[in-house]
Symmetry: D2
Subunit: 348 residues, 4 copies
């Protein structure tokens, strides 16, 4: 019963198999192999964008930082949510890779940015004023740190504001699959058709061993990317082992199937827990995360039973479900919580 | 017959098996798992150094750049061979990670630095002169770009000079296993007992999918390493998949067994080709690389037969052998070369 | 009637004379001259600190950025007021010079940080958590962007919190003279005796042509400073021309005499304007800046009469007085405002 | 008799006077003053280039580093002479400001680069090869570290090669005036008409207190310059004091008149010393520096008489003359050397 993060889960069988297959024969290094070429095609097909440029890397932090560095000069500002991973949880990776850009954290309910907040921030920016870092990038997190996600229309509205002010749009898609699976929309509608310039298409959390693809929807934005990837140490010599993971992930809807299973498990948990006395679902479930306020006794009882999860804030806990979630495990957790709730009430 | 690089080979069965085993159960992320702890122990045992600090990363460029950044301030100089990978082939990764250190390329036969050249360079340095970048690190490549390697005594002599001038010593060990397998020495004698402060212990070229360990023999040098790894994007969430590779590699002499096989293949090639008319072995074989000057007709004939290798310089070619080299393949290549040589002579 | 900034004023006669004197004879370059040595002594005397290390630079941005880079690693965080110059008005200079540190803007009335806000922010920081940039520096602005200033006791209380959390303390003293002149305290009591580690001792705004001294009260903190100054381009070959300005400034209380005159002018303005109908002094005057809310008609009338000042926010204007302020000019401005007020009332 | 450097001299009277004049009235800060606008006009006229963009800064290191950062990406290489100031004497300023570019030192007699050496270096560069930093800039030093200088034709030939390979051309003109005064050519013919993209037009060594202008001959290259200047700390609030120096320098041929006097003094020294027994002029005098090999007895005798100069290499000394050189001082030095030579011969 480990709900600490989707990072605790391992790799999906189809992805492991692709890795084993890739190992069968020698292959050119540094991405000059057939699998990396095939991956480019797979991703272009998946996103319905024949000119898109993709670069595999191994971590989400690398994907975000390299993408942002391609979109933002050292004197640029990156507008992001105040809880966003790029601002809070990457120990300054965007600052390092961009050469010192500034992240501007913006507030917003449920980890989401609103058009009003973004417009206000941009209205305060002084373009061309040499004393101030200059507006350069809007960074959206899909799904958000609160387990919610943007509809294509919401993304498009935010991108429209960004574009009016000359900003590029970056999307941290560490849980992109979960968001798309939730809305059931086409990935192209949620990204470039809505105005996103670069997507970090996450796979690690959703069934890969460690693989993410940076997608540039405008080839010109990708011109620096190869050099930035190499000099930051993220160009794999045996690239095919990244490409194999991502190619399997992108094919046959695997990414969506894995995400749907994780999302379903989150809903199962939310449905099973929300009715407990004293429980309160904090955010709507729009991906594979459940934020729920529980009585302390229940929290402690679950922990005592070796259930692992994150104490988010006070008595709000975060439960993250994975691509390999099993109904039986969810139900065991739910039953245990119910049992604790009954026990708790009786003892009161 | 692919001798382009040891990067073209895949992963060794024992390493793949370790990866599959690591996938069996969920595990804490970001290195808080049992495998990563076990790896630390394995490496401490292997290097006979109970306080050593190890950090797994996925690429050699990352290992080198992060290690150098921990040893060298932005205003420092890194003395290295003029052909060294850190200077020539990393697109400025050390410059990026250190925040702008300067690499000072030094000449030396066979990719090796000599005490005289190093002493001369350090004698010219002006310590404390604020206009000049300051001597900070000696970087050695083991084995060198020319397929030669340093004996423990040679390393110790170079380190002694470095230490007298207050420098730290970094060793790029992308092919460390091949060098150690060649000399048959203990890894600790070739590193910290000789004065090396940080070793990038390579596994990728020698049978891993993508895994290297940065080893700091002085724990104080490692204090920044965790932050530098994270902010450069090299902290894996599913770290156990790096640790599994490295742990299998470090155990039961796997690293040495793989390297010995690659080295033996290089010797087999060198022995089989050196006697060809017009052939000349350029460097002694002290690892898994053969540099040999061959008649152009032979080179072209081999290439026409789909043998892959690197044209190093004029008619000098580089042949790199791998952990999974097969005698039959070596012999096929040698026989073909012999056949071409006979044909060539007849036609002259 | 130019109250745009204290930057619009020129250089004080004594400082110009020192510059002319310094020009009489040739002198060693890069700070090896007698004037620079004398300046070091003057500053040590002034701050009653015989081991203090001082480095002249030409701009406040340089002073702040170099000082911060000496105190903060690339993965560090710098806590500062959300209106502080280092965060808002230096186009990312701290980010550039530190190699990517993160500034954490904190709220606070009148541009001042409070112990509560600082304590809360530090309580939220997770020391040693590799995903987060690490608390490294508290940066105080003296006087603040709102023209207020910290008493020695307030500084000491903030420094005490910072020290308990292992932070270094930087003070941006672009208007340090004005703050000290206001409180009439000893400069050492307002700095190192209160816990400040590095002070950017500003002179440019207060009568120099362009000169600031970075003061390190702990010599160990200054070890990197010479290299950081040089490689950022801030080591003057004809250093004596910076030192001459600063030495004159530090001697015979010139810095205080100039600041007192500017402060007195600010008080004269505040006193003369605060009683106008519809006027409201926004902040207490504790340096050489007046923030006052005025009826729009008066603002427009003053501007029409070629009075120059900054419209801060809505109908709040900022009036900055200089070291060479003349009572007659203040009175002319006050009289004009009074005239406009009477006219305004009559016309309503 | 101080020939250590042209940095030891002070400021020229006309430049000091301009500074005093600039101090008469308050003026807008950060370059929005009339003097800075006038300077832009003066420089455009001087270089016969109506679209040229100029930015005053205070030091040569700043000028070079900011200019290079505008021309070179972090993964770029800057080709320069192995003795060049940017490579040897700036403690890594170009590396810092560019974000980690690599300087490639090239050999060449008399501090000058030749077309052959440049062509060879560029032929070895692998454009688009992601493992190597990419050719980006040619940096020329005018006059060179050996006191020689490039003719317009030599500059044009080097620039032509650079342009064929897509490089930008930077000229470090710390002693540009001395070179132009030597050849008597038009400054535009020695720069943009020959293919130079950015010139650091030095004034500090030639009679300013501390002022250099970065000149961009292609306005597009200057787009980043304002932000780079600000965030590196080189935007002066009281900019008019830099502009005043530079404007006086650029007007009425002052820069050439000062340089001619320094050059003439160098020739007087060279002529007066070259005939001494055992003396050998090492390089032709093409600016304001004399490199001469002298008998050790003479060197020691001159030093004993309080003459100051730099021992360059063994018994080669460097004598640098200044804008305020006086014939009487030159002659005193020459006579002393002659006296020492006669004494030396008699005693042998």
């Amino acid at each position: 019963m480990n709900f600490m993060s989707d990072n605790v889960s391992g790799a999906a069988p189809a992805i492991l198999q692709a890795l084993l297959d890739a190992n069968a024969d020698p292959a050119p290094s540094y991405g000059h192999d057939r699998l990396t070429a095939r991956l480019q095609d797979s991703l272009r097909t998946l996103f319905d964008h024949p000119a898109m440029v993709s670069l595999p890397v191994a971590t989400g932090t690398a994907a975000n930082a390299i993408a942002l560095a391609c979109l933002c000069p050292p004197w640029g500002t990156i507008y992001c949510h105040e809880q966003s991973h790029v601002h809070v949880d990457e120990c300054g990776a965007p600052e390092m890779h961009t050469g010192g850009a500034k992240l501007v954290p913006l507030p917003g309910a449920d980890g989401k940015l609103s058009c009003d907040v973004l417009s206000d921030a941009l209205a305060r920016a002084r373009k061309g004023f040499v004393h101030h870092q200059q507006p350069a990038v809007l960074s959206l997190t899909q799904a958000t740190e609160a387990g919610r996600s943007y509809t294509p229309d919401e993304t498009a509205a935010l991108c429209a504001i960004a574009k009016r002010h000359g900003l590029k749009v970056h999307m941290d898609g560490a849980r992109f699959a979960n968001a798309i699976a939730h809305w059931g929309c086409a990935p192209e509608d949620a990204t470039w058709r809505a105005g996103v310039d670069a997507l970090c298409f996450g796979a690690t959390k959703n069934g890969a061993l460690g693989a993410e693809a940076i997608l540039f929807f405008n080839p010109a934005d990708a011109e620096q990317a190869g050099y930035r990837r190499k000099r930051s140490g993220h160009l794999f010599s045996k690239m095919r082992f990244l490409s194999a993971q991502l190619d399997a992930y992108a094919r046959d809807d695997l990414w969506l199937r894995l995400a749907r299973r994780a999302n379903a498990a989150a809903h199962r948990l939310a449905d099973g827990l929300a009715g407990l006395p004293g429980a309160r679902l904090v955010y709507p479930v729009e991906a594979n995360e459940v934020f729920i306020d529980l009585p302390l006794k229940i929290i402690e009882g679950l922990e005592a039973a070796d259930a692992a999860f994150y104490r988010w804030d006070g008595t709000v806990v975060r439960l993250v479900t994975s691509w390999n979630a099993e109904d039986a495990v969810m139900d065991r957790f739910i039953n245990l919580a119910n049992h604790l709730a009954r026990h708790d009430q009786r003892s009161t």
